[in-house]
């Protein structure tokens, strides 16, 4: 989910928007082809479930999912019009908005389960670490997958909530796949890990000291499906159909977690045995607006953006 280095050049991408061609209508059968930029991670399961279940075909949409390895390409891809829609986390979107890039969320992407200790994302320490709660991580070295992003903001929230002062903590950037090993070898004191690496880390003896997404805000909306304002202005009809289809997919997947676990075996390489027992995120059909507002506020406190972003303008 590395997309930060690109945010600063997003404005340039906007200039390229005019040259891009996408979303071609095929008059023969009334179907519209769309491209969705995503990442091959657990969070996007509903998109794949919805395609398999035909929820997009019902809306006369032919979906091509384009998986970026790191997500670095998703936001610029949507801005430049290479993708019609994208999947991305709320912090990246707020940063983009703060730089004047007109992105708009259409639907919830995924959300924390809201249950402390039973979320798809956890702040873990090595099994033999002396840390018992997030407060014990004051002044410690903590790995997050992206500096200045939703992870860092959430970990600070956990330390604060446990009664500690997050200002002394050092954050280092580490890809999720490297975190279980780094924690086990004490190269970092703690790491904010998401599934499937949370399950893998636990298998190797790591302990969860906090569910940081739960601490950041109740039922935190982590990511959204979004598009460029220009797409809404020019092709409202396609946007409405996509929104309807993805909302139906979210509701279906939330009610049928086994469908999500099945889908994981198609677009990721997660071992079936791990896919069966990892903690799935929640997929509520609604964006939790107050959580987005809270994240935006935390980002100001943590200096990720200089002033609060008008959250209502970027949400549906």
């Amino acid at each position: 989910m590395k997309r930060r280095p690109l945010v600063s050049v997003l404005a340039a991408a906007a200039l390229l928007a005019a040259t891009a061609a996408c979303g071609e209508d095929d008059p023969a059968d009334g179907m519209t082809s769309i491209k969705v930029g995503a990442i091959p991670i657990v969070d996007v399961a509903p998109l794949h479930v919805g395609i398999a279940k035909g929820f997009f075909r019902e809306q006369k949409l032919n979906v091509e999912v384009i998986n970026a390895t790191g997500g670095a390409a998703v936001v610029p891809g949507v801005v430049s019009g290479q993708f019609d829609f994208g999947f991305g986390n709320v912090v990246s979107m707020i940063i983009a908005r703060s730089q004047g890039i007109e992105l708009r969320a259409l639907a919830s992407g995924n959300s924390s389960t809201g249950r402390q200790g039973a979320d798809f994302c956890g702040l873990v320490v090595a099994g033999n670490s002396s840390a018992k709660t997030a407060e014990d991580l004051e002044g410690k070295k903590i790995a997050v997958n992206n500096l200045k992003n939703i992870s860092e903001t959430s970990v600070r929230a956990s330390i604060r909530k446990a009664g500690g002062d997050p200002s002394g903590a050092t954050f280092v950037e580490l890809p999720f796949p490297d975190m279980p090993a780094a924690v086990a070898a004490h190269r970092v004191d703690a790491a904010l890990v998401v599934e499937p690496f949370l399950t893998l880390a636990r298998d190797q003896g790591a302990r969860v000291v906090a569910s940081s997404f739960v601490d950041a805000a109740p039922n935190l909306t982590v990511a959204t499906y979004f598009t460029a304002q220009q797409t809404i202005d020019e092709r409202k009809d396609v946007v409405d159909r996509f929104t309807a289809a993805i909302n139906k997919s979210l509701a279906y997947t939330q009610a049928n977690p086994d469908a999500a676990r099945q889908a994981l075996l198609t677009y990721t390489q997660i071992a079936p045995e791990v896919a069966n027992r990892l903690t799935l995120p929640a997929w509520p059909p609604q964006i939790n607006r107050s959580s987005v507002q809270a994240v935006s506020q935390l980002m100001v406190e943590d200096g990720l953006v200089t002033r609060p972003v008008d959250v209502t303008a970027m949400l549906p």
Binding site: L6, I66, G70, P177
Partner: protein
Amino acid sequence: MTADELGAAAATSAAPTPGARPGAAVLRGGNALLGLLGFATFLALLEVVPRLGLVSSDYLPPFSRIVGALGDLLREGGFWAAVGDTVWSWFLGLLIAVTLGIVVGFVVGTVPVLREFTASTIEFLRPIPSVALIPLAVLVFGLSIKSTLLLVVYASFWQVLIQVLYGVADVDPVARDTARSFGLGRWARTLHVTWPTALPYVFTGVRLAAAVALILAITAELVIGIPGLGAEIGVAQQSGAVPRMYALVVVTGVFGVVVNVGFRALERRLLSWHTSVRSEVPV
């Protein structure tokens, strides 16, 4: 990867005489058995080190498990599609870079004024690591093969160009003057004097470019997520499928060896008349 590029760049700037490959001559002796034994020892270490617990087998699976994952891979249609994607972007990028490198190299190399005029610009552009262009590639071309091609062509073009420039400069003045006194025109001189002189250099350039092109093709796929072996490695990594990831890495290694051996064989065959190649034959 940047180290490889730098290594290749260092090799080119040292203006190698195409014949000087002492390592190749040594390896071709009766030491093939020793080489095989060394490789077998390496594989045995890969098997033993994780099994002894020196490195956690969660992060470095024993070699036998990697082979098992490789066996699964070979039966997947998706894997072969990824191989096809990588081979295609490697080949296309290399073709464009070699064509451009030869044409530009000959034009610039044979016109002294042009060579002086472009020297500083080439020296400025050449050391820019191709990976630094990834953000640009993503913005302009997104997740399409064009992004890969941009990186591949940029990195491998210089390998060819520099070699061609050295090759063109290496023309024996006596041969050139002789050709001129025989009344050969510019085109005939290029064809009969410059081209044969430069050819071994061109081949060295193509061989270096082939390796660099592969590095950049895999890098682009891995970092950006463009379909291919690199993207498969990325997905395996993000899914915690460690043996599969190593199996894919082994595949890219085999690809690299095949490319290098193939181009060496081609070089030996096509340049069999040249002293640089003849001297490689053990006497």
